[in-house]
């Protein structure tokens, strides 16, 4: 897609209104009309390999998708209140996001963390935070997604398992997901964001430790979620989103197979988290194509026998990239359409992005609106009453085939380069992202990508009034002090012993699984930052400020 030379404002009076072009969001040309010539052969039924039409035979007739809005701010206590509120208005699963220092395994009292404590998520540092966070929430009855990547995922899962043990909930009954992917989770695979505070190779090792441990002890738990959403939100297109995330998932499958695990023991517990952008049919085709490709990879390449191992199970979030700061109410419409597209694509759970995303974290009001959006699609529109309602559409089937072959092509390029992790380390991924970002900027600027209220129909007089979520500096200071006090007032000897043991194991037996020594360190009341610093020391990695 080349930036056009002139910006066209549609002239509605003389010529009639026309689109600037007929390309999809990812640059493919839509044909004027699709006919039977465009499709090939018979369609398999939903629930039948390779699952193009959905992983279940009955899809939403059997069970609606999970409504799962991301939440998390300040401390475990405050986040717990928001979770309970969301469950009370009809959310059916939890999506818990820690704050940035926790994501990066830094304690709140770290000078680098000072401005970000409890801001974009919940500050989860010690075991007690986990106790607060899930108070009154049954861990074996509410499915709980924890949005956290390796290496921090190892500490969070350790805290969680200890909480379950304390409450007498058997680990084998826990239901939920730990995102756990160090390459895609944070803000997508941008190089500096991921490599500054922990080395990627070791983060992958810890991610595999978490997967291995959970498979052995908590078989209903989902061990990794490839965050295709965050990959997409860096500005790459639908084909790249799909190929990058599928390639990355293959790296994890290989890693677990190399540890001696049989593919069917863990593959059913691998999930994806995809974006649903604005181009309705392209996004639907992308998700259908991803189901087909994943099924083939698992069956043909990794020789899975169990059909569940071949299921491309995906959560979705409606993309925030097309949401605008201008006329924010328009975002309600955008997110509504994206939610509909996700449902038409047959996904397993949805987060509808708040219309205030371009201003702040969602307010309670906007959170509720997101849930209502999904409920309206679920209960009022009728689109859930038949499975894969677009199946057999000339356009959708054709696009599914086209996307499938382009995704395969790119997957092969990545595989030839040694897999996704290698491509990331070689900065090949970074180059792809940077190029697409520049294009995204140009397309917005040139009007190639029309955005109503921004580069089309812009209302200069629009002055936005929006209730936003406010943060409190005072709260941050208090939280920092809380952690400093915690470190001062606990028994120090057990902390030192546990951290030394973790450091020693990491140094002397680098292959050994780290979850149990981390659990001991959590029990001894160590913080997330201290635990990861012990590992950083053991592998001679210096993070900023160390």
């Amino acid at each position: 897609m080349n930036p056009s030379k002139t910006k066209t404002t549609p002239s509605t009076y003389l010529e009639g209104e026309r689109l600037p072009h007929f390309k999809s969001l990812s640059g493919r040309e839509y044909k004027e009309v699709y006919t039977s010539e465009d499709v090939r052969g018979e369609l398999e039924l939903p629930g039948v390999y390779p699952f193009t039409r959905g992983i279940h035979k009955d899809m939403y007739r059997g069970r609606l998708w999970t409504r799962r809005q991301q939440s998390g701010y300040r401390s475990g206590k405050e986040s717990n209140e928001r979770i309970k509120y969301l469950l009370s208005v009809g959310q059916t699963g939890i999506n818990m996001d820690p704050d940035l220092p926790t994501h990066l395994a830094l304690d709140p009292d770290n000078p680098l963390a000072q401005g970000d404590v409890g801001l974009q998520g919940s500050s989860l540092v010690i075991y007690e935070d986990m106790v607060d966070l899930y108070r009154d929430i049954p861990l074996d009855r509410v499915s709980n997604t924890m949005i956290v990547e390796a290496p921090t995922s190892a500490v969070i899962i350790a805290q969680y398992l200890l909480l379950a043990r304390e409450r007498g909930t058997p680990w084998k009954n826990l239901i939920g997901t730990i995102m756990n992917c160090p390459l895609s989770q944070f803000v997508g695979p941008t190089f500096q964001s991921i490599t500054t505070f922990f080395p990627v190779e070791h983060a992958v090792k810890i991610a595999l430790d978490v997967m291995e441990y959970m498979i052995q002890h908590s078989p209903k738990w989902n061990i990794v979620n490839i965050n295709a959403y965050n990959i997409r939100e860096t500005g790459v297109n639908a084909v790249q989103e799909a190929a990058f995330s599928l390639a990355l998932a293959q790296d994890y499958v290989r890693g677990l197979v190399e540890r001696g695990l049989a593919v069917d023991t863990f593959a059913p517990r691998i999930g994806f988290f995809s974006a649903v952008h604005m181009d309705v049919f392209e996004e639907i085709a992308k998700l259908r194509a991803m189901r087909r490709i994943w099924a083939r990879i698992m069956k043909e390449k990794f020789k899975a026998q169990n059909e569940r191992s071949m299921w491309f199970r995906t959560a979705c979030q409606t993309s925030a990239l097309p949401l605008t700061a201008q006329e924010p109410l328009n975002n309600i419409v955008r997110a509504g359409i994206q939610t509909l597209a996700a449902v038409l694509a047959g996904v397993q759970s949805i987060h509808t992005t708040g219309y205030d995303e371009a201003y702040s974290l969602p307010t309670e009001e906007s959170h509720k609106l997101s849930i209502r959006t999904q409920q309206i699609v679920a209960y009022e529109t009728g689109v859930t009453k038949s499975v894969d309602p677009l199946g057999g559409s000339y356009l959708v089937e054709r696009l599914t085939d086209e996307l499938e072959s382009e995704i395969w092509e790119l997957l092969n390029v990545i595989e030839d380069r040694g897999g996704f992790v290698q491509c990331f380390l070689d900065r090949w991924v970074e180059d792809q992202i940077t190029e697409m970002r520049y294009q995204m900027g140009d397309d917005m600027n040139s009007g190639q990508q029309p955005i109503v209220g921004v580069n089309l129909f812009r209302d200069a007089s629009d002055s936005t009034e929006i209730r936003i979520f406010r943060h409190s500096d005072q709260w941050q200071q208090q939280r920092i002090k809380e952690i400093i006090d915690h470190k001062k007032n606990r028994a120090q000897e057990p902390v030192k012993r546990a951290l030394d043991a973790l450091e020693r194991q990491t140094r002397k037996k680098p292959q050994e699984n780290c979850i149990e020594p981390i659990m001991k360190a959590v029990e001894a009341r160590s913080t997330v930052g201290e635990i990861m610093d012990a590992i950083r020391k053991a592998i001679d990695f210096k993070r900023p400020g160390m």
């Binding site: 830094l106 970000d116 500096q192 964001s193 700061a325 190029e435 929006i466 406010r470 900023p544």
Partner: protein, 156 residues
């Protein structure tokens, strides 16, 4: 011209995206970077490219800067302005720190601009702290370049 003081991101300088009608940014030198732990850098990476294409000398400091490290880079690079981008609500916290540092070290000649997710009600507070231009999402390229150039000209 795009330079990097540290391990920064964008160094692709293909001419493909250049257009003839772009306003010229003159030869101002500007340091772009993010402070704190937020790593959402789509916006600032695109802005870096736009400014460089328009003739600014852009030094890209990447993410994870502290107010101190950003100031240090600004001094070393002898820039006319610092541009910071925010997303997660940490803008007032960090801009306060940065302006305080600029004041105490008597570096007020370095101008400050801000971009990103800034709630409308915080715009006045930021301007009060001395921020010259604020570019929120959806600002067109020419607007960014014109407003920034005007502001820097006026401040000379």
């Amino acid at each position: 011209m795009l330079q990097k003081p540290s391990a920064g991101v964008p160094d692709r300088d293909s001419g493909d995206h250049k257009e003839n009608k772009m306003p010229k940014g003159g030869t101002y030198r500007i340091l772009l970077g993010k402070m704190g732990l937020d790593a959402h850098d789509n916006g600032i990476v695109i802005i870096a490219k736009w400014l460089a294409d328009a003739g600014f000398e852009v030094v890209y400091a990447g993410i994870y800067n502290t107010p101190e490290s950003l100031l240090q880079s600004a001094l070393q690079e002898g820039v006319d302005a610092i541009g910071c981008s925010f997303l997660g609500g940490e803008h007032l916290f960090y801009v306060r720190k940065l302006t305080e540092l600029l004041r105490t070290r008597q570096m007020n000649r370095i101008k400050l601009i801000v971009g990103g997710v800034i709630p409308p009600e915080d715009v006045d507070a930021l301007k009060g702290l001395g921020v010259g231009c604020i570019f929120t999402p959806g600002t067109m390229r020419d607007t960014v370049i014109e407003q920034l150039t005007d502001y820097l000209k006026k401040s000379e």
